[in-house]
Symmetry: D2
Subunit: 342 residues, 4 copies
Amino acid sequence: MKIGILTSGGDCPGLNAVIRGAVLKGSRKYGIEFVGIRDGWRGLVDADFFPLQRADVKGLSKVGGTILGTSRTNPYEGDRGGAENIKKTMYGHKLDGIIAIGGEGTLAAANRLWNDGVPVLGVPKTIDNDLQATDYSFGFDTAVNIATEAMDRLRTTGDSHQRCMVAEVMGRHVGWIALHSGMAAGAHIICIPEVPLSIEEICEQVESASERGRAPLVVVAEGFKLKGQEEAYSDKGLDAFNRPRLGGIGEVLAPLIEERTGIETRSTVLGHIQRGGSPSAFDRVLATRLGLHAADAIVDGAWGQMVAMKGTEIERVTFEEALGELHEVPLSRYEEASALFG
Amino acid sequence: MKIGILTSGGDCPGLNAVIRGAVLKGSRKYGIEFVGIRDGWRGLVDADFFPLQRADVKGLSKVGGTILGTSRTNPYEGDRGGAENIKKTMYGHKLDGIIAIGGEGTLAAANRLWNDGVPVLGVPKTIDNDLQATDYSFGFDTAVNIATEAMDRLRTTGDSHQRCMVAEVMGRHVGWIALHSGMAAGAHIICIPEVPLSIEEICEQVESASERGRAPLVVVAEGFKLKGQEEAYSDKGLDAFNRPRLGGIGEVLAPLIEERTGIETRSTVLGHIQRGGSPSAFDRVLATRLGLHAADAIVDGAWGQMVAMKGTEIERVTFEEALGELHEVPLSRYEEASALFG
Amino acid sequence: MKIGILTSGGDCPGLNAVIRGAVLKGSRKYGIEFVGIRDGWRGLVDADFFPLQRADVKGLSKVGGTILGTSRTNPYEGDRGGAENIKKTMYGHKLDGIIAIGGEGTLAAANRLWNDGVPVLGVPKTIDNDLQATDYSFGFDTAVNIATEAMDRLRTTGDSHQRCMVAEVMGRHVGWIALHSGMAAGAHIICIPEVPLSIEEICEQVESASERGRAPLVVVAEGFKLKGQEEAYSDKGLDAFNRPRLGGIGEVLAPLIEERTGIETRSTVLGHIQRGGSPSAFDRVLATRLGLHAADAIVDGAWGQMVAMKGTEIERVTFEEALGELHEVPLSRYEEASALFG
Amino acid sequence: MKIGILTSGGDCPGLNAVIRGAVLKGSRKYGIEFVGIRDGWRGLVDADFFPLQRADVKGLSKVGGTILGTSRTNPYEGDRGGAENIKKTMYGHKLDGIIAIGGEGTLAAANRLWNDGVPVLGVPKTIDNDLQATDYSFGFDTAVNIATEAMDRLRTTGDSHQRCMVAEVMGRHVGWIALHSGMAAGAHIICIPEVPLSIEEICEQVESASERGRAPLVVVAEGFKLKGQEEAYSDKGLDAFNRPRLGGIGEVLAPLIEERTGIETRSTVLGHIQRGGSPSAFDRVLATRLGLHAADAIVDGAWGQMVAMKGTEIERVTFEEALGELHEVPLSRYEEASALFG
């Protein structure tokens, strides 16, 4: 049996641990031969393969990024794309199936390929934790740890200067990183895409914290939009001073907060450091387990499915189930956290 | 309503986050008045109380240890111990109930008190993750992160010297910390109390790793016992050279491995650093949520119960349910990990 | 003897360790009574003092920020400012002298006060390491560690996506943080205020790294200016697309690099996380030693001087000596590092 | 020109950064051809060489350990050892010289070889910081950071249980790691080989800290000996209970302290984690600079010398100068720190 592995979409701490887990178990227990596919679907379309053996995955559980490279290519695009071409390529290289590690876009492409007859197994990857079919996805815990540690640092500088600190974290569509890092760091208000707030509501918490002698900490997911101003703050919109907007929502909020509360306010965009570097132990264990179970799933012929974490177990779900709605922060979780505000 | 909070047993990162969560929500949403009870059950027996207000818990989510102090006192011991005395003390101080944060011993005492008419609510605390009634307990993730980071360091020194490194981690009765940190760090063999192994089985993995050019990493939980030698390696037993044993199992294994394999072997006992310091983000969130839900449970009069994590939710279980068997590593999880060995 | 302590200017990891060192030694060995002065010179002008005793400084060596608060107030401004008013305030509160912990602006003010008859002792604080009179200043090592760790993370995401990563670090006038963190993280080009480079020179290194299969890492100090375009990129200037500039130099460089090299380029501004949080061990030791020596200097009546690190020793220098030129990166150090480029 | 590089003695964070610095500058600026010598002097004696090119050193500045391997072999031992054999081997492989990275033993061997006509350049490596000829050596800062972070963790568990914590750190002959980590972590007493203390003196500080409500932290270098009992606690001596001693001095002190003060006391031996893992930024910069300057020194024909850090500069010293006395902690530095005790 010969299986290709690819990683697709934004990188995420734990990708290498999945690869290592699948290759170690697959090659040794089941005698599977693995090939690495370079740069996501692009490498599959271009037949850009290389042998992936035990020695190639040694020491990888702690290594960030992906040794396979990644891209955002769609396997149906281009002259050589599409299920028929891919099936020919796979036939030519004697590939019996593909493990595709990726997020929603990747899994949607995987599902389409599977429906078109390409044997694909999915492994969920989303640093934002936005997939319904898995309790947690690897990379998320690492991102939350990095964001939390950064906020711990921001707090000391905020306290010394009696400043309000705004920390912008990842999360275009869902607020999980903001919710968890904000709870962990003791934020005074958490702004997530699922719960629009007005600038007045935000400033109320800022002032309340300030009155208690605290340096206010505002955590905001990049996809948060101010209540009633969703259009004005769109990606192509204007900033608070009617200039074409370059920065993120954190840079929108900071001057508004300062203007209304009179409290000196600074914004920090955590950016790409949230998705790089060595994974946390939690993510290493989760990613390794997903890789191990992917090897099992291949032997079981569980194509068209995805391995996923439920409670403390790894289970299988069909792509159909996996690709439902976005895993948003439920209102109950936001309300739970809001008991810590104000 | 007036509620006392105590922390009992070995300390654990996240205790302060529970206290903060309960006090913030309880005092502000429900108007509960909190008192801190010093040093676990001892403070309850001795009426060693102090007011615990919002300002006292500020900034605590990231602080390791417990501001309440802790001890291993049994509330039924001593002249002033026992349910009747405690009820009188509580009546005298107008305490309507107790939140007891602790592990199995603490919860057993809490259950006995509850059966004797003392209103107690439990919050599970076990760095070893050995309670059945909760998927994860706070402190565990922090300990696994610390152990993993230490092993990452041990590996580089092992690689440079072509040495076998033995890392002894916490876990007297269950092997969760060893299992998770060992998987995360890429151990070549993991030794846990639930799965006795012979020295031959261990050395086989050590030699196999060495033959592949790796510096072998052996992770061992403190409660691991060599197969067939459970007596010889008991706490009062002799060491590998028939001397009275002072060190832990790591110091037993290292010379045995070196003797049999001829590979230079060094042992490191991670010890108390695993339970100290700032909690990981995961543990801060979990502990904070347990504290928030403890406040809800009190208002609901859910005495004799414990808040616990199930999947991604916080639920309530009775003490009876919580105090069943130890949450051991199931064989399936050990076998899952063992695909990474040899 | 009664001494006031103040911290002034931007906060910096290690401020609390200085305070602790001075108070512990001063109060116990020399019987000095200390008062804390709130928010820098503002607190001195406003007589905003509070007692500072041994118990107040416990555990402070590892705590970021400053328990005294800080501000950028000039002691000569305002109705109540000026040397004569300050001398009256000090006389009224029986203050025999002031320890002023701060950077160049603070030390210049301290020097003026000293020349006007106010007994002031200086402790150098500059996260940018821009003071000539001290080999290293506390806070710098912590900032370099944080920046380096962030770049380690950026590299893995750069490698996975074959992107060029631009990291903007602190350093308005000098490039020490960029130089050290860039060397530590293996940057392919380091851009500092002291050494103007053209965009062509930068892109040459980016392309060279890319051709060798590396994801290029560009480290840029916030005060770097492109050769020949110092005006265009001034603080009030236009960005690369002739829009009013909001972001820093990192956001200027990234699109220029992407445009010229065709390599996808992302910019990250590390910002305030570089100056917050717990100090590194190096900074704790340095800051503690400066505090200890400040206590000695007071007893010796060494007013008008500053304690400073020379080699491995703490010495005293006069304010005059301390306030010479900025401690820039010498060309020899830049050339030394440039052997690692291209 | 063809140069061999070897690393010898105990491993140390930063070794790889030295190798990278030397190879990058040497090969590109000076056209030197490098070969790696495996496992220290052993590889030189056995002619165990491999090509070391630019691509082999990429990304190494942050990697702990040594890619060359290390051993404690003496180049004068064995049939194939000795200067004449080594010169023949070097002649046969056209090696023009050797860069030897190591501590006192390595440098002494290097000196002897140099006196016997073998061109050797030294780079100092001592995690203990025990060489007179260099202000700081790489690895030391990393070790101090690791020890300090571990002590920060020990303190929270000590505080929660009102325990005395004893932390044993590296330092057989000199107390630099103990001194710096103890100052950084706020130890209540620091025990170093240079300053014998009686158990009474130690307990006095422990009790004083305890009386002030602190959990006492005792930091002890592994080479510390109790005053007047130097023989009894020798390496082959007996422990506090007259049993053959297995553990280190930390395990000797803990029961003595507990017995005399009545304060529960726990000992932790930090062990090998202090020398493994990724170097701190300080050590990466220092090690890289030493490597860069080693390349310069070779071109200058500065054989029989060692590159060393003096203040902020890298200089050259002869082996004779480098091999004088051990760089002990001077009494003045111990007294400086002792102002923080009791």
